[in-house]
Symmetry: D2
């Protein structure tokens, strides 16, 4: 099923498949199967050749006898394991952003900056073959990394990268959503407005209250409406039926999410 | 762009379009444009005929002079406005569920029960024309409502409804994700396991700790692994640059989310 | 036991006692027993005379047969039922403030403004007969209300009120803690510093991020150290053993708490 | 001012004073001044003799030139630095417990178990010279540690320790509050009820939902009413005026707090 890109529709692992090798004791590994290669882990070595032909969901063992499961990687784990140089968006924020920005198969959207491409990956995955992602990044080395990460998922046909400062505008019109992952989104609202379809969706994530306060002034000045500011807290629980309780510690802050809709200037 | 279903790619509103009429003072309205019809609001009447030909994102006025914006509705607002008889999932939970269950264009997934079809709508939207949603509901009147809500978004080709108790099994194999929105998911894990592709994604939402405790026992017994239990808290802020602060009250609980992966029995 | 002020050490209710009449079905009532008086509730009338001589903790019935328990009121319920014209501090914040400001029997402390005296009540209760509370309020009618609330608890010997703007200074030295419940605490840090024992405790509660940002600048300028900013979220649960879960809604924000210690200027 | 126990009312540090030496760069130290002694820190050595005669709130330097402030320790820091073998209550929970259990100067209260005595310290501090704390602990070595911590604050006259299993009852009547810090409070509700003044206050803290569910059954069976279950979340902020934001991580769970009032059996 070509439209699923990195996902196999075969019952067993094949050369070239993207696999997740996960253990209940340690972290997981996401990589492409390449005959003759080996995966080194703290819990022993696993040869790619031993994985080929195994059923998805089956258990395999390292040379030290440590058990691993062979899985098809989900987008949440892919993002967590993305090679990166920067802070990335967390799945808790990403899911809500996708819903609030109405990112769907067929959507044509833009983001700036690309960063290491982790959010680009999920945008590329979600817009499908009939949509498109325009991704802007001024730092050439970051753009190269983002491209590499997109290629790894076979999403290159759905994403166009621009090594280009959006101060000069996006150069594209009629976008259905724009997400800015930049420290100063308040400097680019004219450009956002110009490129969004009237009424379409704007979003950003900002770490500090001061940035949000500045953005709120700019959004009003640029006639954005239906402005929402919120934050998402994700709390994990100990998954034990006899000792059910929240885990001791949690991520307390990633950023404030800001959403708004761009209307026609009156 | 047919693949976007309810979304128009024209610059102006046309007969048959799904529109959102939103005011900064009151709630919003989502409806299809039908020449000759009128929308009654607390802030006055608006004739559909007056909307036809208007640009998306423009401002219109009721007969009492109250301003509204004409927007294309996003999935979050669509869900909030879905006709329903039951508790629905909230966007804060939905976004995270989509990411954790790896729902993508091309995914073939199942849910039970359909309820009023609000989550069915978003699943239908996300799987695109190349994926499919199998939705199970034992109550005929609920299934009828869910179907009506799916038809409203032109998603009927992507969703198959079954008026069918999943106790007898889903009758479908190789699903990439199953979401149970039922009070007793622990009673159906055999059936889930049988229908999920090995290694694929299971999720559910449960209001009480007692239900989670029971489910954790069943998940272990049925050889599900990588079990995560969590909850998502969404806090809104007052969007005022000079008085930036959380709003006074919030939704404190919708449910505990539980995710797991189904592995091949050893 | 005179030092407990409003609390009786007799096993039964007597004329003049402060009682809490509480029902599991409705709100509670806190009042002083006065022979011949009646309490009117939505669930019927209760005569004070019928309460006199009853054991604390026993059940009584209104003329309509609704059950109530006769209790000695705790400080948390007293605060919640305080007559007031203004926003009051919540028990969740109060408890943490007391601990962080080291309010103990024997402490000599100040607050401004008094407001309706709800926090004054708890300060008066906590400092005991060997401590003292200096409470400043510029609005005469608020000061009168605060005094009335303090008198109701027999705490008048522990609290001195000043109808006096702290801009001119507190006029007292060697305080072990000062709490400001004012919108602009940043305007009074010189005065706070002058009146606090060197090294002693400062605290305030502010609703908006903007106020906190301003205060942080002033605290630094005035050589306060060990500055902590925090907020406290209190989540209640449904107290049912078979349906244990958080309640649906909660207070999302009362204010940001700010604490600091005043050091000797270098 | 004898009633303040560990707190000096002199302007300068004297032999025998309890001091807190705190640095903005490292942790703080709480100890008694003893002529001839030295404090060893990662940032250099400080001689007690150099502290004697210094004003409270003044700055001193280690032999390496690192700055410290000389402060009188507050109860929150004292608890945090208490020598302990076990999990202790956090200030966020303690403050709310004090308010909900109505712990005041003059209160006569009990707790079981004493643990390392950290909560005993704050109870002893709060009840004043006119109140009393009865503290029960079955493990002799823990009781010895709790006693040592109480002695350090000169609170020994306010606290009686019992090396005694409360299964046999507290052996004291008319208590105004009882706090249980035990894994199985549901086993001791008869004993609690017998020793509390009718209508008085019961509280406990439990880490898991399962324990709360069991306790709720027992509370109902033993005719406790006004049962509240809650949890307190404390979130710290970065105290920077230009980068105001929550800190990255937080304590997500200490325990569920349960409060109830004991009524006369009908």
């Amino acid at each position: 099923m070509g439209s699923l890109n990195w996902i196999s529709n075969q019952p067993t692992v094949q050369e070239g498949d993207l696999v997740e090798l996960a253990s209940t004791q340690t972290k997981f590994f996401i990589f492409r199967i390449s005959a003759g290669q080996e995966l080194q882990t703290h819990r022993g070595v696993i040869s790619h050749d031993d994985l080929i032909g195994k059923s998805w969901g089956s258990e395999v063992f390292s040379h030290k006898g440590s058990p691993f499961y062979i899985l098809q990687p989900g987008i949440a784990d892919i993002i967590s394991s993305t090679k990166r140089n920067t802070q990335i968006l967390y799945p808790k924020d990403i899911g809500y952003i996708l819903v609030r920005l109405n990112i769907l198969p067929g959507s044509v959207v833009a983001e700036a900056g690309s960063g290491s491409g982790s959010f680009t990956q999920i945008l590329g995955a979600m817009v499908g073959d009939t949509g498109h992602v325009h991704s802007f990044e001024v730092r050439p080395e970051m753009m190269a990394l983002a491209q590499k990460n997109i290629n790894r998922l076979n999403l290159q046909n759905r994403v166009t990268f621009y090594n280009h400062d959006i101060r000069a505008g996006f150069g594209i019109n009629n976008l259905s959503a724009i997400f800015l992952d930049l420290p100063n989104p308040y400097d680019f609202l004219d450009q956002v407005k110009e490129s969004l379809t009237p009424g379409a969706f704007f979003g950003t994530l900002l770490p500090t209250a001061n940035q949000v306060e500045k953005l709120l002034i700019s959004l009003r000045r640029n006639q954005f409406v239906f402005v929402d500011v919120c934050e998402i807290l994700l709390r994990f629980y100990q998954a034990e039926s006899e000792k059910f309780r929240p885990v001791d510690r949690m991520v307390a802050h990633t950023g404030y999410l800001v959403f708004a809709r761009s209307i026609l200037n009156q």
